[in-house]
Amino acid sequence: MNYDSGPLWLSLQVATLATLISLVVGVPLAWALSRLNFRGRDLLSVLILLPMVLPPTVLGYYLLRLIGREAALGQAWEALGLGRLVFTPAAAVIAAFVASAPFLMKSAQAGFEQVDRVYEEAARTLGRSELEIFFTVTAPLAWRGIVAGIALGFARAMGEFGATLMVAGNIPGRTQTASIAIYDAVQASRIEEANLLALILSIVTGGMLLLLARLGRGSGW
């Protein structure tokens, strides 16, 4: 049988982008939550956890209210000349990011919390700046937690369905990710296609997890 590999490629691209954004945004936040005492720390913690426990439909609904054509972010996007944001691949990335970033952040935070602060203190007395200390001491020592977070976040992003369907829709060749294509195939009784896609999605995601697990064990220290 023939099948369209487009949705799978789209899922890979969306999940990779979402994970990269999670890294850039999530790792500093995870560090801050593990190291700094600031007002609103608990609130931030809860906000980060919420996407993990809320139904994907609720998440999708909030996102629609944020990036829809009537919403501030959606309008800002259009004002930049980037066109409509909802029902685009970019919206799928946003949905995957919001749904998966908490997994990366929680794991990275646990990684940072396991790093004894005496190493950072030693680095300070040796004259290095806080940013240098982060990259040369804290992050390498928290490496396993960060890699585990990347793996979990990526897997979650690959499997994102509910919120993506609500904000990016189901446009074949444009926003139809693998998980949505599977749903679509099942709805249309294209069982063989659903089987194949589900199998490939499982193997690809499992393979990525395996790869990252080896990376986490191997390097780091």
Partner: protein, 238 residues
Amino acid sequence: MSLSVDIHLKVGPFELKSAFQSFEGITALFGPSGAGKTLTLRSIAGLAAGTTGRVLLSDRVLLDSRAGIDLPPRARGIGYVFQQYALFPHLSVEKNIGYGLSDLPSAELQARVDSFLELLGLDGMGKRRPSELSGGQQQRVALARALATQPELLLLDEPFAAVDIRMRKRLRGELRRIQEVTGTPMLLVTHDLTEVRQLANFVVLIDQGAVLESGPAGEVLSEPLHPLLLELTDEKLV
């Protein structure tokens, strides 16, 4: 070099009010457990947030809370040997020793690292990880790492606590030698009178967060003015 300390710090119910001076050579910060010795070191290094008062190192003001001066640890020019050494577990011995030298050109950095490996008898160990070293070797790496940045003052927090008695004796002799070779003034926390006798030029007696007595080691130890010191010396002499 002269170090002049007059600090105040509250941590929960514990109050530290520490005032003393130290000079060249080795100064022992001596007192029983829980006296505030480590906290004093941390305050001097700039690692204890909330410290008020003044810390002067020669002609440099490190802390003057009234004038709003509080230099961060990295700007204080003070080396610190932690009790458990705090060697970076993910870096080789060489990388540990060179960690504070990132501003140097690489050839110069390597030369400096090599000279400290040699000074501390660590030749050939540069590529090892800290976990592959004995306790005594780890301690020497910690010393080398702190001294390599050529600090104006070196703080040592019970540097021999983590090694056995035989090693301790040897390391004490070595510390004395290294102090003489490098000329780096040292402030050493200890609760061991033997250590004070063997190493210290100057003694600061501290208990319950306050300095009770301080002066040249000979004077303080031969004519103990304070009952606590009498108690500690008697105990150790038996």
